[in-house]
């Protein structure tokens, strides 16, 4: 039997050695961690067979769909585990990089953006379905809620080049006794009956305004101009308005709250053109001399307060914010309904939502309705994930 316990308390020296070892680890780890989190990376250069410290930047891309693939310079990015609609891409060398967001059955979104060391550049991707998705709205519906089309017909006659999201039936008799009236139909019918939206184009309105000025004196013109204010739609500080034949997105909020795509890195014209495209450089330097909406600085970035929207050189029948977004705009053009982004860095991605020349569209309560050949539909812009 031992006379003493075999395990004594932790010796002071032992504790001190352990403590100072951890202090040393802290001293070594802290600068390493700070360098890492600020974007410095150790990169092995296979050409020179040397390891060097490189400054990297990042890219933060939000997407409107969950099941999509993201590529940076042709290389697929691993899907995030938690926030699946937001991609933070690390370790990007400074320079121009192409980001592609794609998936089957949706349009591809592509952007080329400049990445700066230690800075994360943001982008918001969107992908509309390649085949439009329609929800039928009929006057009558079955007890199960299925839309009822009267008369004989086929799916292809009503939903040409589209998929239907909800069940519907063709009623072969004219009797509607077994069906119930769909109140939504009445609502939508009233909407299209009372609204002029989507029937008068921006071009027609412009010509009408020009005609009005043609036979009046300059004094009268000044007085009249103030009454012909352009149509303005506002959401989250962004205004959509037409000026002449063109459409603009204008930032009306506080300077600090301005969306990222209104701003560019402070640089000369050629650098700005190289980084964001000639049209952006032109816009920035045209704005720099304007008095009505001058450039302003936010931190060290130059911001313009308006961006011209790409209308594909077509006449615009309707423009509004895309439902649930203040970064995307819905345009009813001559050959169909399109969604375009306000972000014009590199280029504006514009994707068709519903093609055709003979339909009317209207947005009510963030729902897109169309009327074609006497039938009403809701356009479902998302694909099921």
């Amino acid at each position: 039997m031992p006379q003493e316990p075999q395990i004594s308390g932790m010796p002071q020296r032992h504790r001190q050695i352990f403590f100072w070892t951890l202090v040393l680890v802290f001293v070594l780890l802290l600068p390493t961690m700070i360098f890492y989190t600020t974007g410095y990376r150790l990169i092995f250069d296979s050409d020179t067979e040397t390891t060097m410290v490189t400054s990297t930047g990042g890219m933060y891309v939000t997407t409107s769909n969950l099941d999509i693939d993201v590529y940076l310079d042709e290389e697929q990015i691993e899907q995030p585990r938690l926030f699946r609609n937001a991609y933070y891409i690390q370790n990007i060398k400074a320079g121009q990089h192409r980001i592609v967001v794609q998936a089957p059955e949706v349009h591809t979104w592509v952007k080329e953006l400049p990445v700066d060391p230690h800075i994360v550049i943001e982008a918001a991707a969107f992908n509309m379905p390649t085949t439009p998705r329609l929800r039928p709205i009929t006057e009558y519906e079955t007890s199960e809620g299925a839309a009822v089309y009267q008369g004989t017909g086929t799916t292809s006659t009503i939903f040409a080049n589209a998929t239907v999201t909800e069940a519907f039936v063709f009623a072969t008799t004219s009797s509607v006794a077994s069906f119930s009236i769909n109140p939504e139909y009445e609502f939508v019918e009233t909407l299209f009956g009372t609204s002029t939206a989507s029937t008068t184009s921006v071009f027609a309105q412009f010509i009408r305004d020009m005609d009005r000025f043609r036979f009046i004196s300059p004094e009268e013109r000044t007085a009249t101009t103030s009454t012909t204010t352009p149509e303005v739609i506002e959401r989250n500080g962004v205004e959509l308005l037409n000026r002449g034949l063109e459409l603009y997105a204008v930032w009306r909020g506080s300077e600090n709250g301005i969306p990222f795509y209104f701003c560019v890195t402070n640089a000369n014209a050629s650098t700005t053109a190289f980084r964001y495209g000639q049209h952006v450089a032109n816009a920035v330097y045209a704005t720099s001399s304007a008095t009505s909406s001058p450039l302003f600085l936010v931190d060290d970035r130059t911001c313009r307060s308006e961006i011209k929207l790409d209308r594909l050189r077509q006449d615009v029948y309707l423009f509004d914010f895309f439902p649930g977004s203040s970064d995307l705009v819905l345009l009813h053009l001559e050959d169909g309904l399109y969604v375009t982004e306000i972000d014009d860095r590199a280029w504006q991605n514009t994707q068709p939502l519903y093609l055709g020349e003979d339909f009317r569209a209207i947005i009510e309560n963030d729902i897109i309705y169309i009327e074609e050949n006497g039938n009403f539909f809701e356009i479902i812009p998302e694909i099921e994930s």
Binding site: M1, Q3, E4, P5, Q6, I7, S8, G9, M10, Q12, R15, F18, F19, L22, V25, F26, L29, L30, M33, I34, Y36, T37, T38, G39, T56, G57, G58, Y60, Y88, Q90, H118, I119, V120, N256, V298, D299, D300
Partner: protein, 517 residues
């Protein structure tokens, strides 16, 4: 005029037993009040400072948070290592035959004075405590047992002591029931004042009567839910006999809150085991420890300071600081690394348990009043080595500061620059990498919890009948609650206690109900 010749010179000072600033006058009063304000101001300044820095100096705040997260990981490694080391020692001490180990010492002349203060705890709890004593591997005739009731608890509560006396008195050398009056001026109702009264009573009624030398008495002050392990007194006397300066040492066992562990809720078990782990860590750092809860000390040492204070909330630690200050810094804590079993906090409902744990921890963290006391006396007692004064003051201060601020900084304010930072900051890689880095470091720190979980399971008493094996899984997984329990039951009650002290809204003693009745 009272005779204070038995007191140590420093313990004769009028301000030796000061509890609050308003008990002093003039410059001393202002200084003490200033010290009462310091912990609360330091804690609030840190928390507000992080928010302020996140808004106006986001980059600095981010670097600070990274540094702090690394520090936390390393601290977790450091402390986990101590827990593991002490666990090995604890297991070893439990296996030893302490009765054989003390055979070489002449222990026959030594007595163990065991004081059990109680309030309204059930008879069953008193009985379990006595049963534990009666089953000790020790000559029970060398035990002086004092069951000390509170007059304010009512006759029924006091009568319980006499029932216990009837049942157990014959087994021990001496058995005394005392009743602490509730109208003594200058006291605050609570365990401290009850023990203070009992120590005086037992000296007059038993020790002096039996002419037992004070140096031959080891006093163990136990919470009423304390059930000793059989070799406690053997282990205690072995450490007493082998201590460098036995009369200048307090002997600290490891409190295992396991009496009712199977009945307690998961949150209660986590908090109970967390407290045990902290005490296990302190067992390996006795130079940085103070006494906590149930502990033992020579009666002579207590007599020399007039039995400690009857006017403080955190009396279990204050008694150590009284002893240290009165002995000019020459007083140690000796780790027993031997367990005593106590109750985890419990209530009939989960909400009740949460409330009780909160209040219990607010009372414990009100121990910050001890920092005020010791810093005040460090400025008065210049005989304490200057280095020791600084070391103890800084270490204790850091302990109370980190208890309150660290969990909040780590789990809440760590994300502040991301939400509050400037636009310029939000555009940087640092802003995006910060949450990833902090999250990863916290995951690494969480491995410390795996160690905790394994050790906690091995310290858990055998599964009683009627409890499913599934509960073991719950007991292993309950540790994921730690980030929440650290905030809700450490940081917030600590901040509550420090804020009260800062505003001079002094707390009273709150008796923790521990057993579901």
């Amino acid at each position: 005029m009272s005779d204070d010749s038995h007191l140590l010179p420093y313990a004769r000072r009028a301000d030796f037993k000061v509890a609050r600033a308003n008990e002093l006058t003039g410059k001393d009063r202002r200084f003490y009040r200033f010290l009462e304000i310091v912990p609360g101001v330091a804690a609030w300044a840190t928390l507000v400072g992080i928010v302020w820095a996140s808004i106006y100096a986001s980059f600095f705040a981010a670097y600070f948070i990274i540094a702090f997260a690394i520090y936390w990981v390393l601290k977790t490694i450091f402390l986990s290592y101590h827990v593991r080391y002490n666990y090995k020692r604890l297991k070893h001490h439990l296996e030893l035959d302490w009765g054989r180990l003390i055979e070489r010492f002449k222990c026959e002349d030594y007595y163990h004075l065991v004081i059990f203060p109680y309030y309204k705890e059930p008879l069953e709890m008193l009985d379990e405590a006595m049963k534990g004593l009666a089953e000790a591997n020790y000559d029970l005739k060398k035990l002086i047992v004092v069951l000390t009731a509170e007059e304010r608890a009512g006759k029924e509560s006091v009568d319980q002591a006499y029932q216990i006396e009837q049942k157990y008195a014959g087994q021990f050398g001496h058995f005394l029931v005392t009743e602490h009056p509730d109208d003594i001026v200058g006291e605050i109702a609570g365990k401290g004042s009850n023990v203070h009264h009992a120590l005086h009573d037992v000296r007059v009624k038993v020790i002096d009567q039996q002419k037992i030398p004070y140096k031959n008495i080891l006093t163990s002050i136990f919470d009423i839910d304390t059930v000793i392990y059989p070799d406690y007194f053997n282990c205690l006397i072995w450490h007493f006999m082998t201590a460098e300066q036995p009369f200048k040492s307090a002997f600290q066992p490891v409190p295992l809150f396991t009496n009712n562990l199977w009945e307690a809720s998961a949150v209660s078990r986590v908090m109970a085991m967390s407290s045990t782990f902290w005490q296990m860590i302190m067992q390996e750092r006795p130079d940085k420890a103070a006494t906590f809860s149930s502990h033992s000390v020579s009666f002579q040492a207590l007599y020399e300071i007039g039995y400690g204070q009857a006017n403080v909330v955190s009396e279990d630690s204050r008694i150590f600081w009284n002893l240290m200050v009165a002995n000019d810094g020459n007083f140690d804590v000796v780790s027993l690394s031997y367990p005593i079993a106590m109750d985890a906090t419990a209530a009939p409902t989960l909400w009740g348990t949460i409330k009780n744990i909160y209040q219990q921890h607010r009372r414990w963290t009100y121990g910050v009043e001890n920092w005020v006391y010791l810093v005040y006396h460090f400025t008065k007692n210049k005989k304490i080595p200057l280095r020791k004064r600084w070391a103890v003051a800084l270490m204790q201060g850091e302990g109370y500061w980190s208890l309150v601020t660290n969990p909040i900084m780590l789990f809440i304010l760590g994300w502040a620059p991301i939400f509050l930072g400037t636009r310029e900051f939000h555009e940087t890689v640092l802003s995006y990498e910060l949450p990833i880095m902090v999250r990863n470091l916290l995951i690494v720190a969480m491995f410390g919890l795996v160690v905790s979980s394994i050790i906690a399971l091995s310290l858990t008493p055998p599964r009683p009948q009627g409890y499913s094996r599934f509960r073991y899984i719950v007991m292993a997984l309950q540790w994921i609650m730690v980030p929440i329990t650290m905030i809700v039951f450490s940081a917030i009650p600590g901040l509550d206690a420090q804020t009260r002290l800062m505003f001079g809204r002094y707390m009273g003693f709150w008796v923790t109900p521990k057993r579901v009745q």
